[in-house]
């Protein structure tokens, strides 16, 4: 979708015709459309018969930038997969490039991993005694420059951090996509980068759930034991609390994952209580709500119309404050066992930015094998994906509307 701003010293009432030069023999960029003014008389004195140049900038030269803070590796998380899926198409690593690239590209989105901005590789960090969580291990200047460049439509050569070798590999070319997602440990750490973000999300996993998930992840690995998994989490905790956790106050949406309250003393981390904390007053973002916006609701959908199996499902919605910001919190505890539970819940949620009834359910089913597909993590990640799509559409349509307003005036 092209947006054209007309710059001319004369009014456009004179006969101007649009011609797009087929070749750039005149030296024009492809994005420039030249108006030629037909002069009715020969040698008209005084009137300049020069062409009025209109520059068109294609709509996608202003990339929408989303930040996602997560401790779960990057570019490969289920959240990213769900998000790219909402926009259609599957996200793939760049074709033919470095096989250890962390980048994912789909039609609309490019996901870059912020580990690529490590200033110190594994050996360097060992020498200096800093973890990857430490800001000293990351080049925020480069991160800012490159995200800024991509946002304004300029391709960049981004470094690659190879997680297998622990080295920094030669850079790969990143072309500006319609939506850029920067995922990693520090998307909101640097103030300049934070200001570039159109929307930001923080995935806040509680300690108990983190422990349970890492056990599931690592127990089958030779070398790991319960003690080693625990020790690893404990050792990283000080840096995590100091550098990563404070970012959550800047996030527009926080997805908080806690152990369930429905099963006493549950430590398996399978049934989860998930809270979607949404900041109020964010441009182009209207929080999801239950039944009556701004009120406080406790809802158990299971009953006469819907039968659920143990431990059931419990919802909560209400306004709150979070680190000094006005927020709305939507909370789900429990899990979905059947399709009709999911569609029933979807039909009672408002402001979910779906394009058709059942879209949330459809998206969840599409990725039924992803972790979290039967609980609040999958549900809220999908909903946030739809909100981002809505935000993107609002931003791009507002960009085309503004210049049109100017020409009317």
């Amino acid at each position: 979708m092209a947006v054209c701003s007309a710059y001319t010293t004369q009014s456009l009432n004179s006969t101007c015709s649009i011609s797009t030069p087929a070749k750039t023999h005149l030296g024009f960029h492809q994005k420039e459309v030249v108006f030629y003014r037909r002069s009715s008389k020969r040698g008209g004195s005084g009137s300049s018969s020069g062409p009025c140049v209109i520059t068109c900038s294609a709509g996608d030269s202003q990339t929408v930038v989303i930040g996602l803070a997560a401790d779960s590796g990057c570019g490969k998380s289920t959240f990213m997969r769900r998000l790219t899926s909402v926009f259609g198409g599957a996200a793939e690593p760049p074709k033919g490039g470095n096989p250890d690239s962390n980048t994912l590209i789909s039609d609309m989105t490019t996901v870059i991993c912020l580990d690529d901005y490590h200033s110190l590789d594994r050996t360097g960090r060992k020498e200096k005694g800093v973890t990857a969580l430490d800001p000293r291990a990351n080049d925020f200047d480069l991160m800012y420059e490159q995200v800024k460049a991509i946002k304004s439509g300029v391709a960049v050569d981004k470094p690659i951090y190879n997680h297998v070798t622990g080295l920094l590999d030669p850079p790969e070319l990143i072309k500006p996509p319609k939506i850029l997602v920067i995922e990693g440990l520090h998307p909101m750490f640097d103030e300049r980068v934070r200001d570039l973000l159109d929307f930001s999300i923080y995935l806040d996993i509680s300690n108990e759930v983190k422990f349970a998930w890492k056990i599931q992840r690592d127990m089958a690995e030779r070398g790991h034991s319960l003690e080693s998994i625990k020790a690893s989490i404990e050792a990283r905790k000080p840096d995590f609390d100091a550098y990563i956790d404070p970012q959550k106050k800047y996030a527009d949406a926080v997805i908080e994952v806690l152990p369930t309250q429905l099963i006493p003393d549950d430590n398996e981390g399978k049934v989860l209580r998930v809270r979607l904390i949404m900041k109020e007053g964010v441009k182009h973002f209207s929080p999801v709500y239950l039944f009556d916006e701004g009120s406080t609701i406790s809802w158990i959908p299971c009953g006469r119309k819907l039968t659920c199996s143990y431990p059931g499902i419990k919802f909560h919605y209400g306004p709150d404050t979070y680190f000094g910001n006005e927020v709305s919190i939507l909370e789900m505890d429990g899990q979905f066992d059947r399709l009709d539970e999911l569609i029933y819940v979807e039909s009672h949620l408002s402001n979910i930015s779906t394009k058709f009834y059942g879209e949330v359910t459809q998206q969840m089913l599409k990725h039924a094998d992803f972790p979290g597909s039967n609980n609040g993590t999958g549900l809220f990640q999908t909903i946030v994906g739809l909100k981002i799509r809505d935000l993107y559409e609002q931003i791009t349509s507002s960009k085309t509307a503004a210049p049109l307003e100017a020409t009317k005036a």
Binding site: G73, P99, V130, T131, A132, A235
Partner: protein
């Protein structure tokens, strides 16, 4: 018929007992009994062959990551013996986390996406060592 190759650190492994095969020949569960230096270890290991690993390069990465996890856990334990709050100790466990996550990402990709990460690279560079088809 899928054959499972096992690299064991100590002793030899006898492929024995029952193996259950799913309809996907690459994904099978097998029960092994370890014959370690003449003694029968009764430990039963469940082995799951990674879903779609097709290229040698992916196989090599898997193996490398597995070995690194084990090595780095041992290192971390040693380093932290002196002082658990030291920077060296933090960094050592951070490395363990990094390689554990890298391995998990690879596993996730193979199992859920059922695609070899080297797929597109090997389309362009089929003659490299990494792109030899792993003999199943």
């Amino acid at each position: 018929m899928a054959t499972l190759r096992f690299n064991s650190l100590t002793g030899t492994l006898e492929k024995n007992s029952t193996s259950f095969f799913s309809s996907n020949p690459r994904l099978c569960w097998a029960y092994f009994q370890c014959n370690n230096k003449g003694e029968r270890r009764a430990s039963r290991m469940t082995v799951k062959a990674m879903g779609a690993a097709k290229y040698k390069g992916t196989q090599m990465r898997e193996k490398k990551l597995t070995e690194m996890i084990e090595k780095k856990v041992t290192e971390a334990k040693q380093v932290c013996e002196g002082d658990e709050t030291s920077d060296e100790c933090k960094v050592a466990w951070d490395e363990v986390e990094e390689v554990s996550q890298a391995k998990a990402d690879l596993r996730l990709r193979l199992e859920i996406e059922k695609k070899d990460p080297l797929e597109s690279f090997c389309q362009e560079n089929p003659e490299t060592e990494e792109c030899k088809i792993y003999e199943d």
